[in-house]
Structure formats: structure tokens, C-alpha cells
Amino acid sequence: MTCFQSLFSYELKKIFSNRPAVILMSLAAVLMLVLSSQRYIITSEKHHVPETKISPESRMMDDAFFDLIRFHCGDNNENEPENPWFPAIDYAKIVFRYDSTQSTESYDLWNADLFYKAREQGINENTENLYLTENEIRFWKEKEEFIAKPFIYQNTDAVRQIRKSYQFALTLTCLIIGIFLSGSFSSECEKRTDELIRSGKYGQKQTLTAKLIAGLIVSLMIGCLMLVSTHLPIFFFSDINGFDAPWYLVEPFSSISMKAGQMCLFHTLIFLLGCILMGLFSMFLSLCFRKTTAAMGTVFAIVIFDLFISVPAKMRIFSQIRYLTPLSVLMNTHAQDMRLIKLFGKYLITFQTGPILYALCGVTLTVLITLAFNQRFQQKE
């Protein structure tokens, strides 16, 4: 084992010697497991499920399809997960009940024509709400033209459940990363071990590298643990299907024709990059403040800010930048952010802009951490 490997392993040991944080992480993982499983475990009183061999799978979403939906949801069992039509009903509800003022709440009114009109109306409303430019509207219209209608239905319930879980999982993960890493540098000051470290042969560049890599690996480990805790019950209890379906069968107001599996990969990438960014940010704050509680408090405040503070879409640039944070991109909403960024003559959607932006932020934070670390003992005390 080289000295660097030893330094790295001791950095991990320091991070995981924070017992309360380890307990909190374990509790959070259990919470995610329970929340993900409860939908499948807790079922209400059994209702009669009409005996039918008709499956919604691969059916064209035309009037006949909505007739069958009406037939299968008229027996008080539309909310029963064992109803094979349940995911289709759930999907249709997103469109018909998107806006509570819509007059399509009643199943009796459901038909194919209304479904596609309501979907178009939802997309148009979103376009207006986001103050899209002419070019952006044209971009999405061109995408929409490639989407064949009527849709061919595929059950994407598992994908939708996975998609829903990302934002809450990332919120918890960010807080836990903040707890673990906000002391990575400041605790050396607080424990007064920094002088011992800095006077060692490998106490500068190598220690910084070991701390950074350990912090990043811990961030990714926590992120992966949370992802496994949220995804595993979904994979276990439901059929793993829908990943080859187009994304608009998961999020009906989306004009993205990418496969659901590809979009899940984008979600996972953004989730993991979000974890890395939070890790780097926590370490940066830890260096700047030299007080663990101050760094941790700032991490918490920023997560809360990200969740609750909104910037009106009218303030186009500020609003677009604000909603590019990982927590916002993974927001559990059916109204997707349709604003685009033009890069090298090509329009990029938020799921493409995000990873590029996070990579840049990650590099910037790494440079800032290095500068702050080197400045640390040169500052006047």
C-alpha cells in the first residue's frame, strides 16, 4: 500500500468516524426503502377486479382504448395496483386532470380526441408560462411532429415511480453529504491537527488530493446507497418494464421522444453529479468557514433555498439559471422545463445542459478548494 493509499484510507476513516452521521445515513436509507415499498405493500381493501384478458399493453390509444379505460375504472378499483389497467388510468389522469379547471375530470367524458387536445393544451400553457422564444417554440413543435399519434400504450409505471423518487432522494442525500463533509477541512482546524498535517512531507498536495477523492467517493457512495434504497423496492415489487417506451409515455406533456431508459440514465447522471457537486461545495465551505457548524448550516440553507425559493419565469435568464440546479432539474412535476440553451449552434434541453454545467461547476470548485487550501496558512491569523 503506497503512502497515498494510506492517506486516502485514513481520510475515509476520519469521515466515517462521525457516528451520528453514519446513523443518520442508515436511517435515511431505511426511510427511502420504506417510502418506495409502501405503495406496493399497503393496499386498501380488495375490490372486485373485472375479469378480463384484455391488456392495455401495446394498444393504440384511440377511442376504443379510452372505452376500455372507462370500463376498467368504473368499479372503484382504479386505484388498485393489481388492476392491469391501473397504470393506464394513472397516465390518462395526468393529462385529463392536469388543470383542475378542466371539464374532463369525469371518466365518462374521456376519449382520444379530448386526450390529445388536453395534452396539447397543457404543452401550450407550459410554453406560455415559461415565456419561450420563437426559436424554442419552433424547436419543440418540430420535436412534437415526430411523435406519432395516437400513441401506442406501454406500461411505464415503474419508470414513473423511479422518476418521482429522484428529487426527494437527492434532497436527503445532499443533507447527508453536507453532514459528512462539512467538517472535512474545518475539523482539522477545530481539532488542531492541521499543523501536524501541514508539516508532514505529504501534508499539502497529497493530503488535499486524498481529502478531495475521499470526499467525492463518499458523496457518490451515499448517492448510490440512496438510489439503491429507492429503486430496489420498485424493481422488486413491480415488473421492470417501460424502459424501452418513449419518454412521453412516462411524462405525457413532454415532447421528448428519447427512450424512458435513456431519460432514466440522464436522471441518474444528474443525481450523481448533484452528489459530487454537493460534496465539493461542502468541502469548499468547510475550508472557507473553518467551522463545521457554519459550513453545515450553509449547506442546509442552500438545499432549503433550492427547494422553496422560486424565481418568476418572467425574469427569463435568472429563472432559467436558478432552475438548472440538480434538485430543480429532477423536480417531481409534469410540467417540464422547456427552456433551451444554445451551445455550438445546437439547442440543448435542461437534461443536457445540466451535466455540462455541473462538470464546469465541479472543475471551478476543485480549483477554488485548491486555492483556498494553499492560502490557508498564508492568511494572517
Partner: protein, 229 residues
């Protein structure tokens, strides 16, 4: 081997902690005496390369104290330092061995030697949070010696040690000082009175006296008390 401090100055806001200090250290024990706030710790931090002087230079045979080669032969015991409470004594020394560039087998062997030397072999597997103040100080002394330093800087090393341990420590330092540069900062005159080859006295960031303390000069403690009272 010569450690050269050349017109070094360090200022904190309105206070000059170290004011154009110049001296040379060669193998042997140098005692640095001074009252609290004289600038001793600031000086030692600069010699260890962890604090940058505002002006002046510090080097060992032309190698800057910022150089990794210098840190490779440096041993430092800070005055006020801490530990990782969840680490055992052995873990702490193994970690600092890695920081000092010792490979795993060498680190293990040196850790065992030093724990034995400072009388902590029995407590090697105990967590540091369970150590007494004296045990922690002995562990601190052990860590400073991990890499068999050619330059050993000790800031108030006997704080917390009982009289018996102090005597043992003095013998150890006297032995190391035969071939290496040892700079020992203290305000306890008896710590250096009989082992220091060279004395530096600091007041308000300046050296007020430097040289070999000879018997004809009288008692060092009396002189110190007169100067600093």
C-alpha cells in the same frame, strides 16, 4: 547542515510578531526562551513552513522550508495540537507516518519502536479519547520522531509531562541533538538549562540574546527571571 533564518518578519494586523530575525542553527540543541507572546510559536511555524513570513527567508542548506524535501526531514511538535479521538494511538502514528512518507512496513515498525520509547505500548490499541493529558503529549513527541528527523522543532514539549517523564524526555532529546538540529521552545528554563548548546531569547518579536550560555554568566534561570519579570 545549517538552518538559516534571514531577516524574517511576520506581522498580524497592528502587531509585529516577529521583527527582522536572523540566526543560524547547526546540529545540536538550541533553546528558545521567551515569555508568552514573545513570538516564539510564530517563529517556529515559519521554520516549519506552515506559516509564510511577510519578508525574509528561511532555508536549510539552500532548500526552502516550503520544499517537500525539507518537510521530509522535519519533525514538529506544535504547542497546542489535537488528535482524532476515534483513532487509536497506533492508528494516529500510522496515519502521520503516511503523511511523512513512510511506507507501510517501515511505518509499522517505527510506530512500535516509538510507542515503546514513550511508554505507550500497552495503550497502543486504546482510542485517544481515553488517553490522559500526559499520554497525549507523549504521543505528540512520538509523532515528531516518526521520520527520524534531521530538523526537530519542539514547541513547549514538556507541557503535561510529570517530572520523571521530563527527565526521560530530556535524555531522549540530548541523544537526538548529537547529530541533528533541535530547536526547543519553552518558558521553563530547567527544560533546556543542562542540555541546550545554544540559547536564543526572544522578547516582542526580537532576539535579545543569542549564544552559548557559559557558567561564568551565572544561573540561566536567574537571568531569565530578571529579563522577563
Amino acid at each position: 547542515m545549517e538552518l538559516k533564518v534571514d531577516r524574517v518578519t511576520k506581522q498580524y494586523k497592528n502587531k509585529i510578531a516577529v521583527d527582522r530575525l536572523s540566526f543560524c542553527l547547526t546540529p545540536g540543541i538550541t533553546g528558545l526562551l521567551g515569555a508568552n507572546g514573545a513570538g516564539k510559536t510564530t517563529m517556529l511555524r515559519m521554520i516549519c513552513g506552515i506559516l509564510t513570513p511577510d519578508s525574509g527567508e528561511i532555508s536549510l542548506d539552500g532548500i526552502s522550508v516550503k520544499d517537500e524535501r525539507y518537510r521530509n526531514i522535519l519533525g514538529y511538535l506544535p504547542q497546542d495540537f489535537g488528535y482524532y479521538p476515534e483513532f487509536t494511538g497506533a492508528d494516529f502514528l500510522l496515519y502521520l507516518s503516511a503523511l511523512k512518507g513512510l511506507d507501510k512496513p517501515a511505518a509499522k515498525q517505527r510506530t512500535e519502536e516509538l510507542l515503546d520509547m514513550v511508554g505507550l505500548s500497552d495503550a497502543a490499541k486504546k482510542k485517544i479519547k481515553n488517553y490522559s493529558g500526559g499520554m497525549k503529549q507523549r504521543l505528540g513527541i512520538a509523532q515528531a520522531l516518526l521520520n527520524k528527523p534531521k530538523v526537530l522543532i519542539l514547541d513547549e514539549p514538556t507541557a503535561g509531562l510529570d517530572p520523571k517523564e521530563r527527565v526521560r524526555f530530556r535524555e531522549l532529546i540530548a541523544d537526538i541533538g548529537k547529530e541533528n538540529i533541535v530547536l526547543l521552545s519553552t518558558h521553563i528554563v530547567s527544560d533546556i538549562e543542562h542540555i541546550a548548546d545554544f540559547i536564543l531569547m526572544m522578547r516582542e518579536g526580537r532576539i535579545i540574546r543569542q549564544g552559548i550560555w557559559e557558567e561564568k554568566n551565572g544561573n540561566l534561570e536567574d537571568f531569565y527571571m530578571k529579563e522577563f519579570s
